[in-house]
C-alpha cells in the first residue's frame, strides 16, 4: 500500500507516524510546500516576540523520519490531485502515484477587503515565512496595526508590544477573542491588553490603507486614521483545499469527511484544519482549526489508512490563552443563543479574580469559559468531549475546588457501603 500525505503540519506528521506503526513496510511520502522540517505553528508568535530561536520550533528531526523510513519532501507544492487516477502532480513537475492519500494541507489566512491592501509591510501571520518577513522589516517599525482580535491578532499584538513597538488592535466585534470567549471575559482581557499599552479599537474595521510603496496610515470605518508602518492582518483563516476534481469530493467549509475521516473518494482522507469532521458538542460536521484536533485527526486518519477501522469520536473547539497574568480557557459553545435549550451557570469571584461560565443542555456540558485557575479545565473539557451527563449538582462544577474525585461513582459507593 503506497501512502502519500500532503501537508507537513501536525496532522500530516502524526498521520505518517501512525501509518508506520501499523504498516511496517509500505512506502510513505510526506510532502509539503514549506521548506522547513515540520515545526510548531502556534509558536510563530514567539519567534516574532523573540522569546525563542527558530530551532526550538521543530517538532521532529530529520532523523525521526529517516528512522521510520518516511520519505519527507519539503518545499514542494502539490498543484493537482487526480482523484480517479490516484496520482498527484507537484509544481516541480513530479507525478506521485498513491493508493491511500491524506489531504492535510491546513488553512490559508484570509485577506482583508480594504483599499490598497497591496502596499508593502502588510502581512498575514500564518507560517514561519510570514514571521520571518516581518522580522526583516521590524527594526524600522515604530508603530503597528493589528487587524483582528482573535488568537492570532492577540499573539501578534503581544509579541510586537514586547518588541517596543506601539500597537493598535482593531476588532470588528465588541470584544477581543469574540469566537472563543464571552463578553464578560472578553472585557477583562481587553482591560488587561490596554494595561499592557495596546490601544484597542473594538467594533471597528479598516477601510483602506495609505502610503507610498509601504503602508503609512490606515483609514478606519469611522473616518479616523491610525499611522502605522506595519500591519498584521489576522482576520481568520480558511481551509486550504487543494486543486482536485471537486465533483468527486464534497467540499463545504472544508473537505467533508465521514466517521473514519475518509472523503467521498475511497482511499482519500482529510485531517486537520482542512477537514470538516464531526464536532461532538454541536453534533454536526465542522472545521475545528486547532492544533490538538489536527493531532487527533492525523492519528486516526493514519490508522484508517493503514487498514485499521478506527472511528473518529469527534473533535471539539477548545483554547487556552495567556495574556500577561491572565489565563483564559474555553471550549465548545461559549455564547449560546438566547432562545434554545441551554442553561447557563456563572460564578465570579472578584477577590480571587476568577470567573467561570458553564453552558448545559439538559445534563450535558456544551460549553465553558474559565478565567484564571484554569489548571483543572481538562477535567471539564473531558466531560464535555465525552458528552457525559453530569449527575452531580451542576453548581459544583463552578467551584474552583471542584475536583476529579467528585466524578468518581466509586467514591460515593465506598462511602455508603
Amino acid at each position: 500500500m503506497r501512502h502519500v500525505i500532503v501537508g507537513t503540519g501536525i496532522a500530516g506528521t502524526v498521520a505518517a507516524e501512525s501509518i508506520r506503526r501499523l504498516d511496517p513496510d509500505g512506502p510513505i511520502t510526506l510532502i509539503g510546500d514549506e521548506s522547513f522540517l515540520p515545526y510548531c505553528r502556534p509558536m510563530i508568535s514567539m519567534l516574532l516576540e523573540g522569546s525563542i530561536l527558530p530551532d526550538r520550533m521543530a517538532i521532529r528531526e530529520a532523523d525521526d523520519f529517516r528512522s521510520l523510513d518516511i520519505d519527507l519532501v519539503t518545499g514542494e507544492r502539490v498543484s493537482r490531485i487526480h482523484t480517479t487516477e490516484k496520482r498527484l502532480e507537484t509544481t516541480a513537475g513530479k507525478t506521485i502515484p498513491f493508493d491511500r492519500l491524506l489531504i492535510a494541507t491546513g488553512a490559508n489566512p484570509l485577506d482583508i477587503k480594504a483599499g490598497r491592501s497591496d502596499l508593502g509591510n502588510i502581512f498575514t501571520m500564518r507560517n514561519r515565512r510570514h514571521v520571518e518577513a516581518m522580522l526583516e522589516v521590524l527594526p524600522d517599525v515604530k508603530s503597528a496595526l493589528v487587524i483582528g482580535g482573535g488568537l492570532v491578532g492577540l499573539k501578534a499584538a503581544h509579541a510586537l508590544i514586547g518588541r517596543g513597538v506601539n500597537v493598535t488592535l482593531v476588532e470588528k466585534l465588541a470584544h477581543p477573542l469574540p469566537l472563543v470567549t464571552d463578553r464578560k471575559c472578553g472585557g477583562v482581557i481587553a482591560r488587561r491588553l490596554e494595561a499592557m499599552g495596546i490601544a484597542l479599537k473594538m467594533g471597528m474595521t479598516v477601510t483602506a490603507f495609505e502610503g507610498d510603496g509601504r503602508v503609512r496610515e490606515a483609514l478606519l470605518e469611522d473616518g479616523s486614521r491610525v499611522s502605522c508602518d506595519l500591519v498584521v492582518v489576522a482576520v481568520g483563516s480558511g481551509p486550504a483545499v487543494p486543486s482536485m476534481e471537486e465533483d468527486r469530493i464534497r467540499v463545504r467549509q472544508g473537505i467533508l469527511v465521514d466517521d473514519f475521516l475518509e472523503t467521498d473518494a475511497k482511499g482519500i482522507y482529510a485531517a486537520g484544519d482542512v477537514a470538516e469532521a464531526m464536532d461532538v458538542v454541536f453534533g454536526l460536521r465542522k472545521v475545528n482549526g486547532i492544533w490538538p484536533v489536527a493531532a487527533e485527526q492525523g492519528g486516526v486518519a493514519g490508522m484508517n489508512m493503514a487498514g485499521r477501522n478506527v472511528p473518529y469520536r469527534g473533535g471539539m473547539g477548545r483554547n487556552v490563552v495567556r495574556v500577561g497574568d491572565l489565563d483564559m480557557l474555553s471550549g465548545g459553545l461559549v455564547n449560546p443563543p438566547r432562545e434554545g435549550p441551554y442553561e447557563v451557570l456563572e460564578e465570579e469571584d472578584r477577590r480571587r479574580k476568577t470567573y467561570r461560565k458553564l453552558v448545559f443542555e439538559g445534563d450535558v456540558l456544551k460549553g465553558l469559559v474559565m478565567l484564571n485557575r484554569v489548571e483543572k479545565g481538562g477535567v471539564l473539557l473531558s466531560l464535555m468531549k465525552r458528552q457525559m451527563p453530569v449527575t452531580l449538582p451542576k453548581e459544583r462544577l463552578l467551584d474552583p475546588r471542584f475536583d476529579f474525585s467528585q466524578l468518581l461513582p466509586g467514591m460515593q459507593s465506598a462511602v455508603t457501603c
Binding site: 525563542i52 526550538r56 490538538p292 495567556r322 480557557l329 489548571e375 481538562g378 477535567v379 467528585q406 468518581l408
Partner: protein, 203 residues
C-alpha cells in the same frame, strides 16, 4: 514494573503526601530547609476534596498514550522508558497550558519550580520520583502515606489483591463473618458524610 497505586477509600486527607512530594522535589530535600527555599517547593500530588469531604490523592497516571503528550506544542512532554514515566522537559516547556486542556485528571500545575529554570514558570507534574527510584528509594508520597492509600507495587499484584478482596466480600457467609477490608476507613467516611448531611450544607 512497580507503579504507584491509589486506594482512595483509605485516604484520610492528611496531606502528608503533598508535603513529602514538595520536599522530595526541593533543592535541599529537607523539610525545614525547604521551607526557606525560593521558589517555595510545591507538591506534584494534589489532595482533592470529594463530595463528602473525603480525601483523594490525585496525581499523574502516566497514561499511555498520554493526552498531554499528544497536544504539547513544543514537544516538551515525553515518555521516559526506564521508569515508564511521562516527563516534562523544563527547558523546552513554554508554559502555554495546552496540556491543561488535555489532562482529564487535572494534575498539571503552572509555576516556577525548584528544579526548573530560575524565574520561568513551567508546567509541573508528578515525575514518579524517578530521581529517588534511581537511588533505590520508593516515591516519596508512598513512603510517607500512613494509611495505605498510596502503594507502590506491580499492577498485576495490585489487581489480584483487589480481585481477592472482592471475591471474599461476595462469597457465601461474608456478611455473617463481617468481612470489611478497611472498617476504620469506612466508619470515618460514613461519619464525614453524616456530618455534611446533618449540617444541611454541601461540602
Amino acid at each position: 514494573m512497580k507503579e504507584v497505586v491509589i486506594h482512595p477509600e483509605r485516604c484520610v486527607g492528611c496531606m502528608q503526601c503533598m508535603v513529602a512530594c514538595a520536599t522530595a522535589h526541593s533543592k535541599t530535600k529537607n523539610l525545614p530547609a525547604a521551607l526557606w527555599e525560593r521558589p517555595l517547593p510545591k507538591p506534584r500530588i494534589h489532595l482533592g476534596v470529594g463530595l463528602y469531604r473525603e480525601g483523594f490523592p490525585n496525581r499523574c497516571r502516566h497514561c499511555d498514550p498520554a493526552p498531554c503528550m499528544m497536544v504539547c506544542l513544543p514537544g516538551a512532554i515525553y515518555r521516559e522508558k526506564t521508569w515508564n514515566t511521562v516527563l516534562i522537559d523544563v527547558e523546552k516547556c513554554i508554559n502555554c497550558a495546552t496540556c491543561a486542556m488535555a489532562c482529564p485528571f487535572g494534575v498539571i500545575r503552572y509555576h516556577q519550580d525548584s528544579l526548573g529554570p530560575p524565574g520561568k514558570a513551567i508546567a509541573v507534574k508528578c515525575d514518579n520520583c524517578v530521581d529517588r527510584q534511581g537511588r533505590d528509594l520508593i516515591p516519596a508520597c508512598v513512603e510517607v502515606c500512613k494509611c495505605g492509600a498510596l502503594t507502590f507495587e506491580e499492577q498485576g499484584a495490585s489487581l489480584k489483591r483487589k480481585t481477592d478482596e472482592m471475591a471474599r466480600r461476595v462469597s457465601a457467609g461474608a456478611e455473617e463473618r463481617g468481612v470489611s477490608e478497611s472498617p476504620g476507613f469506612v466508619l470515618l467516611n460514613v461519619l464525614k458524610k453524616a456530618q455534611v448531611e446533618l449540617s444541611g450544607r454541601e461540602a
